[in-house]
């Protein structure tokens, strides 16, 4: 069945006939990228993509950013995409270039980030022969992309690339790979323009539904109006849907007066300064957000997917609530949690319709019940679950991030992270008022994401402040990207929360494995200041809490890439925490406001 694929008619309707003129394949590829509005390509050359690099050399419409590892190229494209709402673009060579990109592709798939990754391939006549630098890229990337293509005819290059961009950005966004054999890039072919206007959305099979069923929206809004203990639970889908979705969400929250929490991926959609904001929920979410999830009677999930980091033990997940689930991806519905009212559609459209209907029907929240519910939530908030104390000679990691927030909050600041405790503290202590300002690897949890992503953000926003809040272990996974930052004069700031441990691993070992710290100590760390300097960056170090502010201010004021090594308390744990397999109301808290210390391992079980 695979045999006759090469000459198949493409599924996208081309609205223009193929060009009269013949172009070389590599030129067609670049023309297609230009037409798709690509400004920057993150890539790394190699034998199979030399014809494309040659065409890149001959033009100056598209900028190429040379990364130092292909994983970094994909993360940079993710950073670019997530901070702009555009599709990120990657170009790598065959074999090792493609396999190096795999982690980034999976990361983009899990977090629904639109990326098109062009991979070189050996010439078609060598495919299957174990040729030099051959890998079955389409086979390897099938489960880690939204879709992928192998192009075997230069005449199909343009259409395929147009379709790749369409698939990447439509519906639930995701990564798409286009595998390009070298002979196809060197063959002559006709160019086809992308479908336009009404035809833009016409695709033979892939037509994600953006407009919800009216009956579903009506049922959802009616249920919301009847709620006594309502809660919005929002996710990355709102960010992906665009800034308008965030604005509408704010309006709906205002209109209903319902409290709101969000997943890690959704931070910034509703402002942290908003009075209905409960903070992030989930494994390291706030006490109030998790207890509200547990206790609500109507849950309104908009653009989140009931991930296990959010739900904890499914058996005990929000037992008394009726659930509304708004998602553009039908397969997210009833996957982990069965919901009463699924609404399939794009968040922006659904929110618009919800607001219109709420107003048209003159719905009113049950004020008395809502007041009692908000009072209950305020009581939970009184617990001050993120409380910590900055005392003694060691910098508390929370303090470092809180000061970073205070000293950068009045600028246009983008925060990326690596993965670990620092990531969770960043989510807890950095307060986001706007969408698209927070970039983290949520679904895959990829250490090494933050620095290349920061590079991608800085490419798109040259004047913004971009900070990668990092761990000393994670940063080593893609440290080579400092070199990229230097080459392109990207003044990114790497803010290392250096606790000398793989802190999150150490924390689990402490809590779950009898404090046997197997291989979680960051042995033989480099001197990050010297390392920064060796790369041509500015290196800084701080270990005195009194010098924290000065250091941060200095870091910000330098218009060059900076690595700031913040030596913090190595033993601090990240709380609250819902241990794996536990319910929301079985959260472990740190010490509470009264200053009651954690006694040994006898952590307060709530």
């Amino acid at each position: 069945m695979a045999a006759q694929a090469a000459s198949k008619a493409p599924r996208v309707k081309a609205d223009a006939a193929p060009s009269e003129e013949l172009f070389v394949g590599a030129r067609i590829i670049l023309k297609a990228l230009e037409e798709q509005g690509v400004e920057v390509v993150f890539g790394y050359p190699g034998g199979a993509v030399l014809p494309i690099y040659d065409e890149l050399f001959k033009q100056n419409r598209i900028r190429h950013v040379l990364v130092r590892h292909e994983q970094g190229a994909v993360h940079a494209a993710e950073g670019y995409a997530r901070s702009t709402g555009k599709v990120g673009c990657v170009l790598v060579t065959s074999g090792p270039g493609a396999t190096n990109a795999v982690t980034g592709l999976m990361d983009a798939l899990m977090d629904s980030i639109p990326v098109v990754c062009l991979t070189g391939q050996v010439p078609t006549h060598l495919i299957g022969n174990d040729a030099f630098q051959e890998a079955d890229t389409v086979g390897i990337t099938r489960p880690c992309t939204k879709h992928n293509y192998l192009v075997k005819d230069a005449n199909l290059l343009a259409q395929t690339i147009h379709e790749a961009f369409y698939v990447a950005r439509s519906g639930r966004p995701g990564p798409v790979v286009v595998d390009l054999p070298k002979d196809v890039c060197m063959a002559m072919g006709h160019y086809t323009t992308a479908p336009r206007g009404t035809q833009r959305k016409q695709h033979k099979t892939y037509q994600p539904k953006t407009k919800p069923e009216a009956s579903a929206v009506a049922a959802a809004v009616a249920l919301m109006a009847s709620a006594k203990r309502p809660l919005f639970y929002t996710g990355g889908g709102i960010i992906n849907s665009g800034p308008k979705a965030s604005a509408l969400l704010r309006e709906l929250v205002e209109l209903t007066g319902f409290p709101i929490t969000s997943t890690l991926m959704g931070l910034g959609a509703y402002p942290a300064a908003g009075d209905k904001w409960l903070g992030m929920l989930g494994m390291h979410g706030t006490y109030e957000a998790n207890l509200a999830m547990h206790g609500c009677d109507v849950m309104i999930n908009i653009g989140a997917r009931f991930d296990d980091r959010i739900t904890g033990n499914l058996k005990f997940f929000s037992p008394d609530s009726k659930k509304i689930h708004v998602d553009i991806d039908a397969s997210s519905i009833n996957k982990n949690v069965i919901v009463e009212i699924p609404v399939i559609g794009d968040c922006t459209v659904v929110l618009e319709e919800m607001i219109a209907l709420w107003k048209a029907k003159r719905y009113q929240a049950d004020q008395k019940a809502l007041k009692a519910w908000l009072r209950q939530i305020a009581e939970w908030q009184g617990r001050d679950c993120l409380y910590y104390e900055q005392k003694g000679k060691l910098i508390k990691p929370q303090y470092a991030i809180q000061r970073l927030y205070e000293l950068t909050k009045n600028r246009e600041t983008y925060i990326t992270t690596e993965v670990g405790q620092h990531q969770m503290w960043a989510a807890q202590f950095y307060r986001f008022e706007h969408p698209n300002r927070w970039l983290t690897s949520g679904g895959l949890g990829t250490m090494g994401y933050g620095l290349p992503a920061a590079n991608g953000v800085q490419m798109a926003h040259p004047d913004a402040l971009v900070v990668d809040i990092a761990g000393e272990a994670s940063i080593m996974m893609n440290i080579q990207e400092l070199s990229t930052a230097v080459q392109y004069r990207l003044p990114v700031k790497v803010f290392i929360i250096n606790n000398q441990y793989m802190g999150m691993v150490r924390q689990w070992q402490e809590l779950l494995h009898g404090s046997r710290y197997s291989e979680s100590y960051s042995e033989a760390l480099p001197d990050f200041v010297k390392l920064a300097e060796a790369f041509g960056c500015v290196g800084m170090r701080v270990s005195d809490p009194a010098k924290m502010d000065d250091t941060i201010n200095e870091m910000i004021s330098v218009n060059r890439p900076v690595v700031c090594d913040v030596m913090v308390d190595p033993k601090e744990n990240c709380f609250p925490m819902i241990p794996s397999g536990k319910a929301h109301n079985e959260m472990i808290l740190g010490s509470d406001k009264t200053g009651k210390a954690i006694t040994g391992e006898g952590l307060a079980l709530v």
Binding site: M1, A2, R11, S215, A216, I341
Partner: protein, 214 residues
């Protein structure tokens, strides 16, 4: 991957195929992914039974790998699988998939398949109304004397054709439901069953509407 599961459990799962008709009464309606409304109670139903899912796909490189990879990658089981081009002009193939699962799991399988780019239509032929399903098996039986005669006689009862014979053996071609083919094979065991080759299930909905019409 697409091997036939051992059929010992057949009697246990078979009666369930009539279940959907009984369950059609709707409680607690909620809108469904494809066909309107699915009752929540039904999604929570823990009954596992065999479903036949038909998928219309573009006949392009790797489409089968995509479908199977998705199912295997998400840990769903495949009892049988048939695939062939059904519309040359439009380049469409039809994949029939027999799988065990609860209603919710099949809804998931459908939704996951539905979002693959080359997939046109996904239908659960078991839960979506009456359908017919057939498979074909080639069954080789060796033996002489009485056993040989008995094999021929049973073949007759099952309307199996003899498509090859030697002095030592027959090859029967038997067509029917999975249960019928199972039964025939079971009866051939004591009569010198040598080997079996089965196509897996091909299925189609009853009535005038085609798979692309709702």
């Amino acid at each position: 991957m697409a091997k036939k599961a051992a059929k010992k459990a057949a009697p246990k799962t078979a009666p369930k195929t009539s279940a959907p008709a009984k369950r059609a009464k709707a409680e607690d309606q909620s809108s469904n992914l494809y066909e309107g409304m699915v009752p929540v109670a039904r999604l929570k139903d823990k009954d596992t039974y065999r479903h036949i899912v038909s998928i219309l796909v573009d006949n392009e490189a790797g489409v089968l790998a995509r479908v199977i990879g998705m199912i295997a990658g998400r840990g769903y089981n495949i009892e049988s699988l048939t695939v062939c081009e059904v519309d040359r002009e439009r380049g469409l193939s039809r994949i029939n998939l027999a799988t065990l699962g609860t209603h919710q799991i099949i809804e998931q399988v459908k939704a996951q398949l539905g979002r693959l780019v080359p997939v046109h239509v996904v239908r659960d032929l078991t839960d979506d109304g009456p359908s017919v399903a057939r498979e074909l098996a080639l069954v080789k039986v060796g033996g002489v004397g009485d056993k040989r005669v008995e094999a021929l006689r049973i073949g007759d009862i099952f309307r199996a054709n003899v498509v090859d014979s030697s002095t030592q053996s027959f090859v029967f071609e038997v067509v029917g439901t999975t249960e019928k083919v199972d039964a025939f094979i079971e009866l051939m065991k004591p009569l010198g069953l040598v080997e079996v080759s089965r196509t897996g299930v091909a299925a189609i909905a009853r009535g005038a509407a085609g798979i692309e019409k709702k």
